[in-house]
Structure formats: C-alpha cells, structure tokens
Symmetry: C2
Subunit: 394 residues, 2 copies
C-alpha cells in the first residue's frame, strides 16, 4: 500500500493568468454548504435562480439558458455537437487557439468545415464573413470567438446575427473570456448559441459552462436528422432536465458548483453589469499604460483589445519562461504564457472578475519590473506603477 497523501495545503497565489481568476470568499463559502440531492425540490429552485441570473448576464430572454456540467470547452462542444450534423457546412473564423478548437470539433461532428483564417491577434471582418457565406451556401453554422483568450482580441459581433440569418445560418459565439467583464448581448447580437466558462470574468471556480440557445437554435436541435453524437451534451435531453415542471432526470448536476455559480452571479448582479464593464476597462487601461514602460506592446489589433485578458508581447531579447516562472514562484503571481505560434512571444495577464483591481495591477507591474531588472533589463523600478497611477488619474 502506498503512503497516504498529506493534508491539502496549496501555496497562496494571486491569479492574473488566463483563468481561473480569483474567487470571492463568498463563493468559496457557498461551495462548502452541505449538499441537496439534484432532484430535491429545493435544488430545482436553485436551478431556476441560476437560469434567471444567467439570462440577465447573457442579456437574453432565451428559455434555454443553463449551465452545462463541464468546463468551458464542454460548452463549446455542446454548442457545436448539437447544431452541426454530418454533412452540414460550418464556417469557423479562425484566429487563435479557441477558434482552432472549434474547427477541430466541427470535423469531429462530421461537419463540412470552412475555415476563414485571420492572423492571430486580428479580428475577422464582417464583409469577409458575408462573402464566405455566399460562396459556401448553404452554411448551417457560423462560429466566432468573441474574446480570444490566446491573443487578447475582441471580435465585433454587432450585426453578425442578422447577417447569418439572412443567409439561413445560425450564429455560435464563444464568450468564455468576456461574459461578466465585457459587454455580451445575446439578444442584441441575434446570436443563436452562446457559451462561456465560470472561471474567468464570473470569478467562480471552473466546472460549469453557461450556455444559451435561441428558439431558432432549438428548432435546429429538434429538427436534426440524426441523434446528437454526444449523450452527455444532448441539448434536447438537457432541456428536459432544466425545464421547470419537467426536470426529467438526465445526469447528476455538480451541485456544489451550481451553488458556487449562483453566488458568483449574485455578486456580478449586485455590482451591476455596466459598472463591472467599466471596472474591467479602467484596470486594463492602467495595466497597459504600465507595461508600455517595460517595452511590451499589445498583441491584439488596435481598437479590438479585450479588457479582461491583456496579451502583451515579450520585449525583444527577453526569455519569457524564466521571467514568468519567477513571477509565480517569487512574487506568487500567476500570469500566462503564449500558446501555439505565440509560445515564448507573449504574456497573458488576466484582469477578470475579482482579479480586476488596482492593487493587482500594481502588484503584477512591480513583479515584472523586479524580474526584468534581475534578468539584466534596463528597468527603472516604480516607473510602470507610476504610469498606471497616471492612467487611473485620467
């Protein structure tokens, strides 16, 4: 018999990476509440609360607005596996890791994949999408990432839903890194399937994927010619589980995670969405003013930068991994590195939900200064923080 593992005692970290973000003590406490059964009438009431809260945060009236029992990627798979049937054409706007993942999933669904590629950090022009819709007609699904966590780019969605519908297509939008931190307008966009994760701007631990489907998307689900390839993510069955008055047993919901999500959404709605978006903008602007003094340029296209996830280029001549490691192990702050073609080239600093605060902006700027100076860069200590404070002063 192997040795028993010791008591859980993880080090304390300030989470400023691409997620998870910091979690409020209120949410941690909600998770430690003793469990109800997943079919208990009291738990069904809690599910109703979460649906109501998610509709507010997504800004939608969609009855099908739920939390998928998996992390954000399960939300992505749920959206696509329900809407893309074998032989359906799906147009994916590819400009980062998560849109690349969407393309991969489309192929696994048996869909006919059309990739509309744009350099990483750029956004996709609506005129190009329109052109591709015409060229590849009929297109069943158009899929875009609103907030590309791998590049820090924010895709404009305004008008895209209408455009898709004019061409008979459904619009799928990934809002994993925007929901609750950057404006998401499901009904305003006329989007048909929009999913997110809990561990970003909602500041809840990872484990659930908010998902909303428009009536038009549900029609497509009901009209499928073949069964959904996933039993676990079958939207028809999940709809019957979440629908008030039905609650047909499908699978056991992750009860403690639902408690956590409910509490994190209470916090989001207490602050108010507009105040929250403004807070995310303010701290991102201060951070970007600070990192500019360190010679770090933004990776994302001007005018299309996410406030929640700040992707910045590592200064020329700096080896990124040792700096990031020192920031983690010496300063106790997690920031992210680059993925795919951006590996070694960028840092990704998340200021999401609870993490989006002035003291965190100053802490990470100080840590970067210290570690860059140790690595021999000509850094003037305190300059980055000063620039951030100037930005706050406006």
């Amino acid at each position: 018999m192997a040795t028993l593992v010791p008591e859980l005692n993880p080090p304390s970290r300030l989470l400023l990476g691409p997620g998870p973000s910091m979690v409020s003590p209120r949410v941690l406490r909600a998770m430690s509440v003793p469990l109800l059964g997943h079919l208990d009438p009291a738990f069904l009431g809690i599910m109703n609360d979460v649906q109501q809260q998610l509709r507010e945060v997504f800004r939608t009236k969609n009855p099908f607005t739920i939390a998928i029992s998996g992390t954000g990627s399960a939300g992505m798979e749920a959206a696509l596996v329900n809407l893309v049937e074998p032989g359906d054409t799906a147009l994916v706007c590819v400009n980062g890791v998560f849109s690349t993942r969407m393309a991969d999933i489309v192929e696994r669904c048996g869909g006919k994949l059309v990739k509309l590629e744009t350099p990483w950090g750029q956004v996709t022009d609506l005129a190009r999408i329109e052109e591709a819709l015409k060229k590849n007609a009929p297109v069943k699904v158009v899929a875009v990432v609103h907030a590309e966590t791998s590049t820090g780019a924010q895709q404009p969605i305004e008008g895209l839903g209408k455009l898709c519908h004019q061409h008979g297509a459904l619009l799928v939008v990934d809002t994993v890194t925007s929901l609750g931190g950057v404006p998401v307008e499901v009904d305003g966009w006329e989007a048909d399937a929009v999913y997110s994760g809990t561990q970003k701007c909602l500041s809840c631990p990872p484990g659930l994927a908010p998902l909303t489907l428009s009536p038009r998307a549900l029609e497509a689900v009901k009209g499928r010619k073949s069964k959904c390839r996933s039993w676990y993510l079958d939207a028809g069955m999940i709809a019957d589980y979440w629908a008030e008055g039905k609650r047909a047993y499908h699978h056991t919901a992750p009860i403690s995670m639902v408690y956590a999500l409910r509490e994190s959404l209470r916090i989001v709605l207490e602050e108010g969405l507009e105040a929250r978006f403004e807070r995310h903008r303010r701290h991102s602007a201060a951070l970007m003013a600070g990192v500019a003094t360190l010679g770090c340029a933004p990776q994302a296209q001007a005018g299309h930068r996410l406030a929640s996830l700040n992707c910045i280029q590592v200064p020329a001549g700096v080896e990124e991994a040792p700096i990031r490691k020192a920031v983690l192990l010496e300063n106790g702050i997690e920031i992210g590195g680059g993925l795919g073609p951006l590996a070694g080239k960028v840092w990704r600093i998340g200021l999401m939900g609870e993490s989006s605060r002035q003291e965190n902006v100053l802490a990470v700027l100080a840590a970067l200064e210290q570690q860059l100076k140790k690595a021999g860069r000509p850094v003037r200590l305190g300059a980055a923080g000063a620039a951030a404070l100037e930005a706050y002063a406006g």
Copy 2:
C-alpha cells in the same frame, strides 16, 4: 432588471438516495480552499496525488488513471466514445437504466450495437456473454454495469476480462455505484476501461468521473482509424494533460472539485478499503432486515445485491410517491424512487460512503414506519429498528 436572488440557504437533508451521498465536512472544507491555476506546478502535484489515490481505490497499476471533468455519465461517454469507432461491434449487457444508456451511447458513436437483455434486477450470465461473443465475432467492446443503481443488482465480473480478451474484445465496466463501497478489482478483473462517479461511495460532491484505461485500451485509442467523436473527452489528449512531465494544456480542470476528490480519497484510504466494504455490507444487511418487517422485498436477484444501493419493492397497495415525498419533507431524508419500468414500484435507499452509518439506517427505517402508518398501513412502530439492531447484534 429582475430581483436579485436571495442568499443561498438550502434545507438540511440526510442523503440516502441513489446519490449524492453525504459529504464529510473535511471534503466541504477542501472545496473552500483558494484556487491554484490549473497549470501551476503545485496543482500538477495535486493531480499526481489524485492519480496515485485513484489507482489504489481502483486496485490497478494503469498509468492512465485520472478524473474526467464531468459527472459519472461523462465517464461512461468517455469510455465508450474512445473505444467504439463507427462500425465496431459493441455488446452491451442491458438490465437497467445505466446499461440502457450505454447502449444509447454506443449507437451515437456509430457502433454496431448488440444488446444482451436480462430482466431488471437480474445479472447477466457469463455463459450468455461467451455465446454472444462467438455469435457476433468480432466484438470490439463488451460493456457491463457492475453496480446497477436503478435495480440494486451487482454483476459478477470475475473472469469476464479474460473471456473478452480470448475473443479479442475489450471490457468496459461501470462502477459508478460500487467504487469505494463494494470491491472493485480493475487489474484482478483484467478490465480495460472502468469509470465511476464521485458522489456515491466516495462521498465527494458530483462533478468528476474517475476513469482508468488499461494499456490494451490505450492501444485501441492510439490505433483508431478516425478521430474520437468528442474533443472534450478525447482520451489521447487527456492522457497528455494528465501525464507527468507533459501536462499539455487541454482544458481547465475543475480545480475545487479536484481538491474535494483528493480529500475524499484520503478519507477512503485512511479507513482502508476492506474496512469500508465490510461497513457497507453491515449497514446494508441491517437495513434489509428492517425493511423486511415493512413488507418490502429486495428487487435484485438473491446473491447479487449491492450493499451500497438497496432497491426494495414498495408493498402492494402503497402509493410510493407520497410516502417518499413525506420522508423528504417531514423527516428530511432523501430516498430514491424507481426509474423506467420500476417507476412507482421500488424505493432506492443508498447507504454509500459517509451515508453508510447505523444512525442513518435507524433514521430511515423510523421515517418509513411513520409515513406508512400515517398512510394507513398496519405498522408496529419500532419493529423495523429492532430488526435492524438484531441484525447488527449478529
């Protein structure tokens, strides 16, 4: 704007249904520990701990022994979607809700389904499986449920792995309601894919699905002709995420749930598996002695009854739902009703993990007596508890 939802304040329940079971305060406390990032070296150490613990509980040396980021049904889907390719023959032993679900998933994977049906509550004879293996050769996968949560039947698995391998098939076993409460012997059985849930005999909240794959199963995964239909559950990619030294980013693990699972497995291994199995047997025997005085016969075949999940027939002439509702709302105890063809006919009383205790046996027997008496049944109050105490006295 809708009204804010009130503070989380669920009623207190004793969970003696088919899951979730009661969760130890130690596990609830572990969930409230502030989060690490999912790629933090300290979190990777925690993943190693969980893998080591799961190998002990599954009784296996399989390197691929992990927790899938979803509930037990995600574990089922993960096992099947990775092993069943379009056109592969899969033999499913169907005798309850969960084996019926396996059959459904096989079809969604594009597999050629062979159903070996047995009445609900009975187990499948190995000779019949052998016959079916010969008749339908070549069979790629044989799938059985070790612990049928819908009927309380325990399928004998001894010898089945060898039999499958003699016919070139892989053995998939569902241990959702047995792992940690009833002997599970992954290597002893020569099983190839075995999954479970966390919210049953492990007494952890729902949200993860322990899964172990034999080297033979991994060979089949690597030798697939087509990509796995699920990106989220793709065992090849998940293996690279969990493999020490690789930790290739796949998706964000549900960190707080991993903390909870680690703590619940510490508790399981502190008690010791054999002591735990004996405890489950003892309390189940006492419960069954008690319910016999109420006129409730066991649903499962004699000699094949689960200690963790006691499925008993509702006495003739009793309407089951109002009794179960009163036990929940007046006595604060959750028990389960029947599913599918057993709806209205059985109660399912879980004595799993933390729930398997003498005081809980006495509590549920007392509650059933009270509610049956109120419903006009000729019940002698205290008789069921007395019978249980006699059983404990041996």
